[in-house]
């Protein structure tokens, strides 16, 4: 990301509707209104930042180490949007042996591959006739330190 874009994405407040927008920054009783009133922009919301489609976004807990190369560690919180149609390269939640698994989805030379991001794990190549069931696309992950 070039420096200018990065800079912009930090200072630019969200333009869509916010849930926390205060109506008035300051009660006008007597005296002077707050000089900041005209500049109230509403607080930034992590929900808004991480969730594009509220109704189809679910949180999933990651377990194990198969995706550490992609920055997903044991216990991390995955934000999963089910409304997105997966494309090759997406990290997805897929249904495998009746369980949910998080892997990178790769289409290569007619093959569908669920690729772990850890050399200790084997890639999963779907066999002919085996249907891939993608549960949702992972859009971000969050980590708490405290």
């Amino acid at each position: 990301m070039p420096a200018s874009t990065l800079h912009q994405s930090i200072i630019e407040p969200a333009v869509t509707k916010s849930f926390n927008t205060p109506l008035y920054g300051h009660k006008v009783e007597a005296g002077f209104p707050s000089p900041a009133d005209d500049y109230i922009e509403g607080r930034l919301s992590l929900d808004q930042h991480l969730i594009q489609h509220r109704d189809s976004t679910f949180f999933v807990r990651a377990k194990g180490l198969s995706m550490v190369g992609a920055g997903i560690f044991d216990g991390d919180l995955l934000v999963v949007d089910r409304s997105l149609t997966p494309v090759s390269g997406n990290i997805v939640i897929a249904v495998l042996d009746a369980e949910l698994t998080v892997k990178r989805l790769v289409w290569r030379e007619g093959q569908v591959i669920l690729q772990p991001e850890n050399p200790d794990f084997k890639k999963i190549v779907l066999q002919d006739g085996q249907e891939l069931q993608v549960w949702g696309v992972v859009t971000s992950t969050t980590k708490k330190f405290i």
Partner: protein, 424 residues
């Protein structure tokens, strides 16, 4: 004027399957509170002959034999997924009427009639992909017909891939189809009316559609006459987009184990009153009176039976948990008798009205009222942020010996940070 009815397939079972793929294609049944009887069945369970509301003990043998998986109901999950489904459906039409937790009507007036079938498919695919819930869509010129079209889609009598648009069929084709469907399957025709109709040789949907309307009104009521009109594509039941405010709020439950002392019973009453008060404030309403009831187990015929209900007027209408709980416990004190084993209790709030239209009274304590409003909004905010029941009155107790038996409830996948689905 085309109307669509979108109905989720085996909704509670589908909610469970959305988060636990191992339940797919297996016979799954969801049991009511206290694991009493079947409230949702997967198709596999239906095929085994398990009927709706069948008590668990009656199917236990069958369950063992066929490996039926029985789950306790998880209303936190169903409620959340329902809200998501309804919210997405609302984007498909300017007028939506939510009819129940798993079905809603959509007004499709003004849409190109030729495109409705494809539109229904889009609705179905979107809900399936975005929330993981399979739905069926019925499209027709009245609500009753839309219901019927949905029924046909679900049972695969007509339509394709879970979508049925009666607008695509000729009158003759529909007549033929209707002649194969029993009259009792029509929306609004209950068991009693259907028995009477059959006795009059009106056995199928087609029989009722072609029945004499004024005769139907004389024999039954305007309701049945209206159904006949609706079956003929004349819309009589309006699509009411605006949600009518609730008239009453009832919270009651059977206990996991019977209780007999006053303290346990009052804990349950306080808990129910608290939960009813939350719903009341969410609607922006206040209640003018409250009713408390307790009852013993009517199925234990040998035990002493007792049941009482009492209405407690509230003076000034209120939405304050403290006041409602106090009133409920006062009421309980009046009706409670020792020496009985109680199985069920409940609280009902009545005389609901919008909070801001309450008439002021002469002896209102305005300052006190402001305080109560503040306290309640803090309580609601805390409970919303920290999870239900984080801040409650001590009156609702901590042991909750009376609480529901839900032995095999699935995790609260979408409403509890500690119970999220896990991906390896």
């Amino acid at each position: 004027m085309p109307i669509a009815l979108v109905d989720c397939n085996n909704f509670y079972v589908s909610c469970e399957r959305a988060f636990d793929p191992s339940l797919e294609v297996k016979p799954v049944v969801v049991l009511s509170n206290n694991d009493g009887c079947a409230v949702a069945r997967s198709n596999e369970v239906k095929a085994l002959g398990v009927k709706m509301a069948m008590p668990w003990f009656q199917m236990e043998q069958l369950a063992k034999q066929h490996g039926i998986i029985a789950l306790s109901s998880n209303y936190a999950l169903y409620g959340d997924l329902s809200a998501r489904v309804m919210s997405i459906l609302s984007t498909f039409s300017p007028v939506q009427q939510i009819y129940s937790i798993d079905e809603c009507f959509l007004d499709l007036d003004g849409f190109d009639p030729q495109s409705l079938l494809a539109y229904g498919q889009t609705i179905r695919q979107t809900i399936k992909q975005n929330v993981g819930i399979p739905v069926c869509v019925g499209i027709a010129d009245s609500k009753t017909l839309a219901k019927l079209a949905n029924h046909c889609a679900k049972k695969r009598f007509a339509g394709r891939d879970g979508v049925c648009d009666f607008g695509r069929y000729s009158v003759t084709q529909l007549s033929k189809l209707f002649a194969t469907i029993p009259v009792g399957d029509i929306w609004g025709i209950g068991r009693k009316i259907s028995e009477k109709l059959v006795a009059m040789n009106i056995e199928t949907v087609e029989d009722l559609r072609t029945a004499n309307q004024s005769r139907m009104r004389q024999q039954f009521s305007i309701v049945v006459e209206r159904t006949v009109k609706e079956l003929n594509g004349i819309s009589c039941i309006e699509l009411d987009g605006a949600c009518t405010a609730r008239q009453q709020i009832m919270v009651s439950r059977s206990f996991g184990q019977e209780v007999s002392n006053f303290d346990d019973l009052s804990e349950s009453i306080a808990y129910f009153a608290t939960s009813a008060a939350e719903k009341l404030r969410k609607d922006g309403s206040v209640a003018a009176s409250l009713s408390v009831f307790i009852q013993t187990n009517p199925f234990k015929e040998k035990s002493a039976q007792y049941q009482r209900q009492l209405v407690v007027p509230l003076g000034e209408p209120t939405g304050d948990t403290l006041k409602l709980v106090n009133a409920a416990i006062c009421g309980l004190r009046e009706i409670y008798r020792t020496g009985y084993s109680y199985k069920k209790s409940g609280v009902m709030l009545m005389g609901l009205q919008p909070k801001n239209s309450v008439q002021a009274q002469l002896f209102n304590d305005v300052i006190e009222k402001g305080r109560s409003d503040k306290l309640m909004s803090v309580m609601d905010a805390v409970n919303q942020r920290m999870g239900r029941g984080s801040m409650t009155l001590a009156a609702s107790g901590t042991k909750q010996r009376w609480s529901m038996r839900r032995d095999s409830k699935s995790p609260n996948y979408t409403t509890d940070w500690d119970e999220l689905p896990i991906a390896t």
